[in-house]
Amino acid sequence: MRYGEREALCGVSFDAVAGELVAIVGPNGAGKTTLLSILAGIQRPSAGSVDRVPREVGWVPQQPALYSKLSAAENLELFARLEKVADAGQAVERMLEQTGLRERAAEQVGLLSGGNRQRVNVAIGLLADPPVLALDEPSSALDPGQRARLWGFIRGLAAAGTCVVFSTHDVSEVQRYATRALVLADGELLFDGSPESFLAAAGEEDGDFEDAFVSFLNGHGHR
């Protein structure tokens, strides 16, 4: 994938199966968002392909993509209609129930807390009941309590068979929640494996995951 002269992603390839929680981790400018955008069908790669069509991938952007003048229920209904979900009303009810937003359904999104906005954002990504869910830094704007609730919800989705691919800056989330880690730097895939194997690859089996990450990048010539 290229942006003019700059190569944003180079030779990155991976596959994931149902129930996996795949973390894409890397420093700023590594290509995490670009990779997720390609997976969600927002950007077309200069070369290569994605096996799943965009309709099969639920997309949760980093910034909540919601209309602040509409209520949570109205946002969900709008995207359910646009996604041509068979029973839009039922899908809205299901997502309000799953995300615990029933009591806030009629409130304008602009008046909701950051955590609740992110829940609506995730709910929209799940409206069409997609087999793959792509989340771009889903917990970056949340407080610890909101973060824990969000991850509880996402783990529940993975347990139910959804393949979840997420990007993050917070390497502790990789260690805690991911079943697999993809480490990107300057558009290159440097590592693909479990978090435990990553610690081993960094030579810090008993160490801190963040130290291991920094040392791994340094070892590969990235600072």
């Binding site: 955008s37 969600a40 069908g41 927002i42 950007q43 965009p54 309709r55 997309w59 952007p61 910034q63 909540p64 993509a65 919601l66 209309y67 602040s68 003048k69 509409l70 109205e74 709008l78 995207f79 209609r81 646009l82 996604e83 304008q108 929209i124």
Partner: protein
Amino acid sequence: MRWLLRKDLLILRRSRLTVALLVIYPVAIALLIGLALSRGPTKPRVAIVDETTPGATVQVGGRSVDVSQYAEQLFSEVQPVRTATRGQAVAKIKSGAVLAAVVIPRDIAARLSSDVTQARLEVLYNGDALEQSLVQSSLNSALAQANLGFSEQIQRAAAQAIGLLLRGGNLGVLGAPPNLIGLSQIPPLLKGIIARQPPGHDRSQLERMLSFATFAAQNLALSKTVLQTISQPIAVRSTLLHGRRTPLNTFAVVVAVSVSLMFVCVLLAAGGVALEREEHALARLLRGLVSREGLLAEKALLAAVCSFALAFAMLAGIGAFVSLDWSRVGLWLAALALGALAFGALGVAIGALAREVRAASLLAFLLSLPLAFLALVPAGSVASGLYDAIGTISFVFPFKASLQALDAAVNQSAPGIWVSLAHLTGLAVLFGALARVGLRRVE
């Protein structure tokens, strides 16, 4: 697209300030323009101090013209406030009761009758630079009209005196003999006398007198025409070579409606597209839920329909004050519809370039305002090279074409409406294509 439209209408309904502005703005503009045009320009309030003696006259060739007629001429050109003294007039100016004062001096009749001194009026006024300019301009115009009217009366009196000299009769001047012979009657009389005279010195003297009398009568008759020429030296015959003369008040209506159509439509369309980016929803929509063309068409159409309705309401509202030809309403609707579409396309192109609503609104405003001014620059008011540049800019943006289309629809002006409608269609396609290019970048 239906659901996107429903969403936008819902958001618009909840943006109370925007809706209020969209409704209040055209109503206020329509009322202001309507009232301004229907009331017409008011005459300036001027204090008039007439110091002349009642019955004072100017003598013209034995005829008398009453000096008070000059004051009456002046009264018809202003809102006169009769004031007894100069001091009272000054007080009225200072208090703001009148804009200015004109003092007609006691000796005006003597000076008008005199061959050596010019009659003078005294004009007093007050105020800041702008007010002074306005008062001076209004008063100069009023005085020029009064002078012209008065000079016509003097010219008529002089023409009557010349007519009597030519035709003969009772001149009515003190000391003039009754039943005077007219100058034009002398040549035929002399011819009869000469015919009865034998050749000789007396006959040749009489023939010389005949030559003079004939020449004098012919030239005195000409002097009446000369007097008319002096009172109005140049007569103007105006011919409109191209199109139909547009009344100024209906053109003002067309300008006001076109400006409102442009602002409402461009701002709504630009804001609509920019809002999708600002809410980070564009990427979500464009990953297969809505096509780029569909999104742009929906935004342009929504803005066009809203602005079209408001512009038509404005036109109808102003129609209550200004006489408009309602039999051409079909053409008004066509002009407004295509104008709105072209403005909608311009708006979505601006919205596609901007990342947020405030930037889009500012860009739309900064672009629209000079476009309106440039389209109204008349030919000949700037250097030809600059006018060509202004013409090119006006041609590639929809304001001038929209103005011409609506002017043609309302006033039957040139160029014909179909040319302008075709121009607007072309611009709608051009800006639609630019908007599509601008939307290639999603985030």
